[in-house]
């Protein structure tokens, strides 16, 4: 263990750089995944006939092993000159995030009590107004819980993307294995784990921040 600490101290600059690179990939992928997954999740609550097929597709995507997915993206992205590196890594992360994000968005909006939606309609709120003022505020804690799952999962998958030259903390693990350099492997694994725990905590905080006050009071009072 002492040796691992020595390694971290001696390579502090590189550690920061790779951690930053790792975080950056996960963040970019998360932003991409939200802008794709949340609208799709909302859309399938309006067009129920698509819900089953879309959720099944997202489910299949998540079952593909990451190495296999990188392999499949390689010939496709080679056409635009990005077969390796950060582009296929971020795209893979976006695809993997779709299931937790779409599913949570869909379920959260579906779970808004129908009488609340009916009251809004009956009072003359347009569909858009109802979505902005009622459905999304009520659904957002569950949507953010989906983002949390996606973010933590992506930190792990991003570590593997070092094998396609995407950088990030996976580099320590990959190079450590290649060079049979135990301290390097453990340092990489440790940093990835710490990052995952940290991000999970940060997302939990975000989840609490976006939960409307009236809902928190309701939960506390047990109604």
């Amino acid at each position: 263990m002492g040796n691992v600490l020595d390694f971290l101290v001696a390579n502090a600059d590189r550690c920061w750089l790779l951690t930053w690179e790792h975080t950056w990939m996960v963040l970019v992928a998360l932003v991409g995944a939200i802008s794709l997954g949340v609208p799709v999740g909302i859309a399938i609550t309006r067009h129920e006939q698509w819900a089953k097929a879309i959720l099944r597709a997202a489910n299949i995507l998540m079952t593909i092993p990451s190495i296999a997915l990188f392999g499949m993206l390689l010939p496709l992205l080679s056409l635009i000159g990005h077969g390796l590196g950060k582009v296929p890594a971020v795209i893979a992360l976006v695809l993997y995030s779709q299931l937790p994000i779409i599913r949570n968005t869909y379920v959260a909006i579906k779970n808004v009590p129908p009488e609340i939606v009916d009251a809004g309609r009956g009072m003359g709120m347009s569909r858009w107004k109802r979505m902005i003022e009622i459905e999304i505020p009520l659904a957002i804690p569950v949507i953010v819980a989906g983002l949390r799952t996606a973010a933590v999962m992506n930190i792990g998958i991003a570590a593997i993307s070092a094998y396609i030259g995407a950088g990030g903390l996976g580099v320590f693990i990959q190079q450590g294995i290649a060079r049979v350099y135990e301290e390097m492997i453990v340092a990489g694994a440790l940093l990835v784990s710490v990052l995952a725990v940290f991000v999970d905590g940060a997302m939990a905080l975000l989840e609490s921040l976006v939960t409307p006050k009236g809902i928190k009071i309701g939960r506390k009072l047990g109604s």
Binding site: E115, I116, D118, G124, G214, I217
Partner: protein, 382 residues
Amino acid sequence: MISYQGVTKIFGSGSEAVTAVDGVTLDIKKGDLVTLLGPSGCGKTTLLRLTNRLITLTRGTITVGGRDIMSQDPVKLRQSMGYAIQAIGLFPNKTIYGNIAVVPRLLGWAEKRIRDRVDELLTMLRLDPGLFRDRYPAELSGGQQQRIGVARCLAADPEILLMDEPFGAIDPINREEIQDEFLRVQAKLKKSIVFVTHDIHEAIKMGDRIAIFQEGRLIQYDTPEAILTRPKNRYIADFLGADRALKVLGLLRVEDAVNPSPAHLLHASVTSGEALRLMEEKGLGHAVVVDGGKPVGYVTPADLARANLPVRSVTTAYPVQVLVHSTLRDVMSHMLMHDMHTLCVVDANGDFVGTVSYESIRKKVVAAYRDDTPEEKGNVGT
């Protein structure tokens, strides 16, 4: 105010088609509270939801204030009518203020005006604005939430209210209270109201008129008295129940049956000897004793025979004095409980108004059944 002409709603099509509302023609006058009554699945809620286009007509026309609803934008139409439902449907993420402010905000009111309006409504429904304005629905009891539901539907002061079992989700005691409160508010505001209920007591209590439905068809549309005393057919008679004559008692007030100058009236200062003579002369079994315009109690010849004192000293107090505005149903109940066939009627100040007897109540109810012209409901609900 609202006119339904041959309104029909068919859900589904082909062999699965269900006719929920079948050729209903009905006029609701301005300022009237009309209860739509019937068992579940009779089409009453469907008719209500057709009115603000939450569902779309199959055939027929609905006009509101003379304008066909199909020629109006549904969202604008809904904003022009109050809407309250059994499940209340308060928005849990908004404060009480935010909930009541929904429609005023949609209509673009200034925040100052909304604030004044919210406080006014909370006060009207006996909820302290300072205490409730900034709370969340989860912090309120069921009865309080229901009041907020009513406040929300009155928020933009619409002329028409659509209420679908608005007091259905609370316990009977609170329901009575909120019904009374709502009637008090309605007496002032005079909104035109479509009020769906499956509770016959509620329909009678709240309705200026009742529309009774069966399998999507309107069977009878009349005042509560007329429906109770002259149900149109067996279905309605059964629906009203075998105790419908007792329900009529709930509609009639003491003031309808009071005898303002009963023969058996004695002043408290008369001596018992004189009182006894008077009573024997008129052949009375008992007499009401009044002092300074207030009833003191009653005496019987047996009480008076004991000594020659002022009547006051041998008077038995009435176990209960009935108020002019009580229903005859309450009076009848008192009579049975205390085994009395005559009770004293007083006004709000406790001044003697007259007496009400079992016989006068009986006559009143029998008269209601004989009456060929429907009675106006003007003296009820005040």
